[in-house]
């Protein structure tokens, strides 16, 4: 113990300087060359910042495509999931309530057409995406609310489908913020 305590303290101080200081500095400096300079990339519409490209946000208006439910109400300073277990009766009731709400807002849609991602909360509470089916199933509602032909909206959604990585790995998905920004730009 005695012959170890001094090297232990000295070495810890060196590690503090190097890893908390040096390593952090290296990463910070290179971040200055990255898009957004390590401060995060924002999205712009209507001549103002309307969000962060990577972060999902809440859309409750029928005129917009909705994001997934969020356990933290899309607060980007306190992320989190619901942590509800798969068989929890209270949780299953919540899901059924969300389905009922969805059906009220989307007349003409049948229950079995609703994909589960639209009625389950994401892990972060900030999921920026919905599934492809989740976007198409909302087209009818948005078309009525905006008085735009359904066909035009379907084409817009199709244009916003993000392919799997290199077309090979992962999921197909739709970024809700991007879709809604371009939706606002559409002419009637």
């Amino acid at each position: 113990m005695k012959q170890n305590i001094l090297p232990a303290i000295r070495l810890t101080i060196v590690c503090m300087v190097f890893f908390m200081g040096g390593y952090t500095l290296i990463v910070w400096l290179t971040a200055q060359a990255a898009p957004g300079k390590g401060k995060g990339e924002t999205a712009t519409a209507h001549n103002r910042t309307v969000g962060w490209k990577l972060l999902g946000q809440k859309f409750t208006d029928d005129k917009y495509f909705s994001s997934r439910p969020s356990a933290v109400d899309y607060h980007a300073d306190g992320s989190g999931g619901s942590n509800k277990g798969p068989t929890n009766p209270g949780y299953l009731k919540t899901v059924e309530d969300r389905i009922d709400t969805f059906l009220v807002h989307n007349p003409g849609i049948q229950k079995k057409e609703i994909p589960s991602d639209l009625v389950t909360a994401s892990g972060s509470g900030l999921d920026p995406h919905i599934s492809v089916q989740g976007a198409y199933v909302q087209v009818k509602r948005v078309a009525v609310a905006r008085n735009i032909p359904e066909q035009n909206l379907k084409e817009l959604v199709t244009k916003h489908i993000d392919d799997p990585l290199f077309g090979l790995f992962g999921t197909e998905r739709v970024n809700v913020l991007k879709l809604n920004i371009n939706l606002d730009k559409m002419k009637k």
Partner: protein
């Protein structure tokens, strides 16, 4: 669907392809051989040695190794307590986050010093930037301490008869500078260029498209995320860990981060093969680990991609699979793959909420941590496996009537006693902890109603998971558990402390004692340890000792929940 499966097959294949050369590199580092990074990193090591006052060629025996390791951990413990309990008024705190209470600071300190990274706080609100950087420091040095202990065992296995097992500080510093640092820089850069924040500013604010005001937490995230993935730490920058879109922006970063989880644990085994010049032995170890891993993986992926039967019954479609607690950009397959990789190693970062997994997939996570050596943590994973090897050698020796020998050394009563104690420690800590918590809850459900987020068997699983994760030094959680209370902070802190250091002390002691013994050359009577037969033997020992001791608890938790769904 097929692209999701392709994604996880690619990740595993690519990890294995990287692990072989990196394993050889790690072997060279510990052997002190020349590597291509010498020119850059040699001067850096020299600075560390000089300022630290260390003579790297000063050889130590196994007791000196352990003394050095434990002393430096004590220093880290004090340092961390001081910073976490005072960070509220210290610099680098733009969001005015508070200092930690004593019990939370104890839990967090033990958690990060022990390479566990169990988090009873939330990153956005619970720590300042100075706190985050301090925790990041521990992500480097606690991982390196585990690797240094593992290197000691490697050297002990190699030597014929010796007391001298290299220098602890030498292994420690080289693990930091030669292995963790270069890899962390590469991973951090990939993250930064994909949008992960790296700055020192406070929260940002914006007004959303439909007019809500939103605050966004930022900070030096990329640097921390890189090392928490590589060092089997897992402590996330943000509360929701790698599910957070800033912590893990897209499928590419998901691949990078997920490969980082198991790369070093697998590479360490190949490093062993390189150091002791027994490639076949290394492949035997990797084979056994992989067999267990694939079994858990298949179970998790199958159940998650099939979706939650209770949701199917409601009558909506589940085109992707079970989606509660998951992100669309990863999907159930990549989430289940991450879940298994993060629990078989002692990483514990998550890209989906484990609490919401289907019961049997959740059991895969539990089993991965209960065995804790299908790859295992950086360094310590192999140490756990080493204990199982010793037991397997002893049992096989008894079965065929030969003296149990391992790599030319006789295994006798003393080593067996240590190995058995270490093997039984893990079930003891988990089961007695869970039993205590269940007892408290069952006898006074009103007083502890804040604990459980889910009723019935799933609530039991939440408590079982927390103790399993603590004892496995994993750090993931069924996060529904209301765990920032003095009971959970102190109980889990104590479990993490015991479960970190005894399983390091035990194997290093065994290896040190064995290294000291007389070398017996291989003969016709020697039990071969680099064969498939012996591999099956080790696997059987793991199943019997580790998995079956937990079977009753698993029956009360995930298994009962699964059959309750029908």
């Amino acid at each position: 669907m097929t692209t999701e499966i392709a994604g996880i097959i690619f990740m595993y294949a690519f990890t294995l392809a990287l692990a072989i050369p990196i394993g050889r590199y790690i072997g060279k580092v510990y052997e002190g051989e020349k590597t291509w990074l010498d020119n850059i990193l040699h001067p850096l090591d020299k600075i560390f040695f000089k300022l630290g006052g260390i003579n790297p060629i000063n050889e130590m025996n196994w007791k000196q190794h352990l003394a050095a390791l434990l002393t430096i951990n004590l220093v880290w413990f004090i340092l961390s307590m001081l910073i976490l309990m005072n960070m509220g008024w210290l610099p680098l705190n733009p969001d005015d986050n508070p200092s930690m209470s004593a019990d939370l600071a104890f839990n967090t300190t033990v958690s990060f010093v022990s390479n566990t990274n169990l988090q009873h706080y939330s990153g956005e609100t619970g720590v300042s930037y100075l706190g985050q950087l301090t925790l990041m420091l521990f992500q480097f040095i606690s991982a390196a301490a585990g690797m240094a202990a593992c290197a000691t065992v490697f050297i002990a296995m190699k030597e014929r008869t010796t007391e001298n097992l290299g220098n602890f500080y030498n292994f420690f510093i080289k693990s930091c500078t030669r292995i963790l640092l270069p890899m962390a820089i590469v991973v951090a850069l990939m993250l930064v260029f994909n949008g992960t924040p790296m700055n020192f500013e406070g929260k940002a604010q914006y007004i959303s498209l439909q007019g809500d005001t939103v605050h966004v937490s930022r900070g030096p995230a990329a640097a921390m995320i890189a090392i928490k993935q590589l060092g089997t730490n897992g402590g996330g920058y943000y509360g929701s860990n790698a599910a957070h879109p800033l912590e893990n922006p897209n499928y590419f970063t998901n691949i990078v981060e997920n490969i980082s989880i198991i790369l070093i644990p697998i590479a360490m085994v190949f490093a062993l093969g390189y150091i002791i010049k027994r490639r076949r032995f290394a492949w035997m170890v990797v084979g056994v680990m992989t067999l267990g891993f694939l079994f858990l993986l298949f179970n998790a992926v199958y159940n998650e991609m099939h979706g939650n039967p209770m949701i199917s019954r409601i009558g909506i479609s589940q085109p992707l699979g079970s989606m509660e607690g998951k992100e669309v950009r990863f999907g159930p397959a990549a989430s289940a793959y991450w879940e298994v990789t993060t629990t078989v190693t002692s990483n514990g970062s998550v890209n989906a909420m484990h609490d919401s997994f289907t019961p049997l997939a959740g059991m895969s996570a539990l089993l991965g941590m209960m065995v804790n050596s299908f790859y295992g943590g950086v360094g310590v994973g192999y140490l756990n496996f080493y204990v199982f090897i010793i037991i397997a050698v002893f049992i096989s020796g008894l079965m065929v009537g030969r003296t149990p020998e391992f790599l030319g050394k006789k295994i006798e009563a003393k080593e067996m006693k240590i190995a058995s104690i270490i093997a039984l420690l893990h079930p003891l800590l988990i089961l007695s902890g869970t039993a205590l918590a269940s007892y408290l809850y069952a006898h006074n459900p009103d007083a502890y109603s804040g604990w459980l987020n889910n009723p019935g068997n799933h609530g039991f699983s939440e408590m079982l998971y927390e103790f399993t994760s603590s004892s496995a030094n994993n750090g993931s959680g069924f996060e529904g558990l209301g765990d920032n209370t003095p009971f959970w902070n102190i109980a889990c802190g104590t479990v993490m402390l015991v479960a970190r250091f005894l399983p390091i002390i035990g194997p290093v002691a065994i290896a040190g004692i064995l290294a000291h013994k007389k070398f017996i050359p291989e003969s016709a009577g020697t039990l071969k340890t680099d064969t498939g037969t012996f591999g099956i033997m080790v696997f059987a020992v793991i199943i019997i000792v580790a998995a079956l001791s937990f079977f009753p608890a698993l029956t009360l938790g995930p298994i009962a929940e699964h059959f309750g769904m029908k």
